[in-house]
Symmetry: C2
Subunit: 210 residues, 2 copies
């Protein structure tokens, strides 16, 4: 099962690494990190880099496409090398997936036309541009297309997908292997649960960044 994770300048690390840590544990999984060129790609905060082992064109036909989001997403929505790769890979993929604003890249590739989809809550409405129906759910399954909400939601998406591919027993074993028994000290992880002040703080920080 060949899994491809395309990286681009200013991706968000956990978007990719969360589901990576789940899906790479599937029996027979082989993960390749792709980019415009092989080499280290820096993340949104410029504080870390993940190595791309190959260029997009080197792996045209993965079984699983996993597209992370990031603050750099908007700058690559018209990057035909990346978006074209997603479009073509989707034609033969078994699963086409995204985390966070990675869904905007699926949208730009024409993958989400007429489908329900999700994204980071700050960017959710942008999905309408691509003919998608935005939904606030954490993991949205539409046939072979699965989109996940912001950043950390990719772990949940990975487990949902692992169960579809290898069955619930394997997915549960992976969950135990990564000891995913979440116990966040607060309950402010979604826009419906966080206080108005918290939501406004993040909105203003995002507006300042844009």
């Amino acid at each position: 099962m060949r899994i491809a994770i395309p990286l681009y300048d200013r991706f968000t690390a956990l978007d990719a690494v969360g589901p990576y840590e789940v899906l790479s544990r599937l029996p027979g999984a082989s993960v390749t990190w792709l980019a415009h060129e092989p080499g280290v790609v820096r993340n949104d905060q410029r504080m870390m880099g993940i190595e791309a082992q190959a260029a997009f064109e080197d792996l045209p036909d993965p079984e699983i496409v996993l597209v992370p989001g990031g603050t750099g997403t908007n700058d690559v929505l018209d990057d035909e090398r990346l978006v074209g790769w997603i479009r073509r890979a989707h034609e033969t993929s078994e699963w086409t997936t995204s985390v966070c604003t990675g869904s905007l890249l699926l949208g730009a590739a024409g993958v989400l036309e007429g489908l329900e989809a999700t994204s980071h809550w700050l960017d959710l409405q942008d999905l309408e541009r691509y003919g998608a129906r935005p939904t606030g759910k954490r993991v949205v399954e539409q046939g072979k297309v699965i989109t996940a909400a912001g950043v950390s939601s990719g772990i949940d998406m990975g487990l949902v997908l692992a169960a579809k591919i290898a069955g619930p027993e394997v997915a549960q074993a992976i969950q135990l292997g990564i000891e995913y028994d979440p116990q966040p000290p607060f309950d402010s992880g979604s826009v419906d649960k966080a206080s108005t002040e918290t939501v406004e703080l993040i909105r203003s920080l995002a507006a300042g960044r844009a």
Copy 2:
């Protein structure tokens, strides 16, 4: 706030990237990934690499030390360059933390003597070797030393630490920023919750690996 994450051959990616994604969002945070030499360090599954920007000795006095675990931990427990760096950094750190089997490295550095600590559930009892008192809790706070359980627990630990450093409002904003509203499709993320079959499956896979 200088945060150092030491990498070594066969670390587990999510151990490091989970808390990275939380702590790097603290106001004024600066994260440096360290290793024996600058360059890409490969993870436990050999399917990804994270770039170390500097050698251990280049950052002797971070405010936060964050040590990830991995299948390679046992092979570096007597690596004096790494363990000695942890020991010395702990002398001046504000917080010394670990995820998963990273706690064994804290133990080897003498940090856990007489303290409660946690680790991946498979390796928990190994902490006794270092004079620590193993506990099955997900995040264990002992003064400035915080240990977290397996792999994904570092996200929870990161939020606990973020609240201590910058207050609960900031930690809650970070939680919303990374949309950490966990909804795993199964409830098998701890050894107490998973089925006996699942626990035995992971035990046998781990035994085969060792």
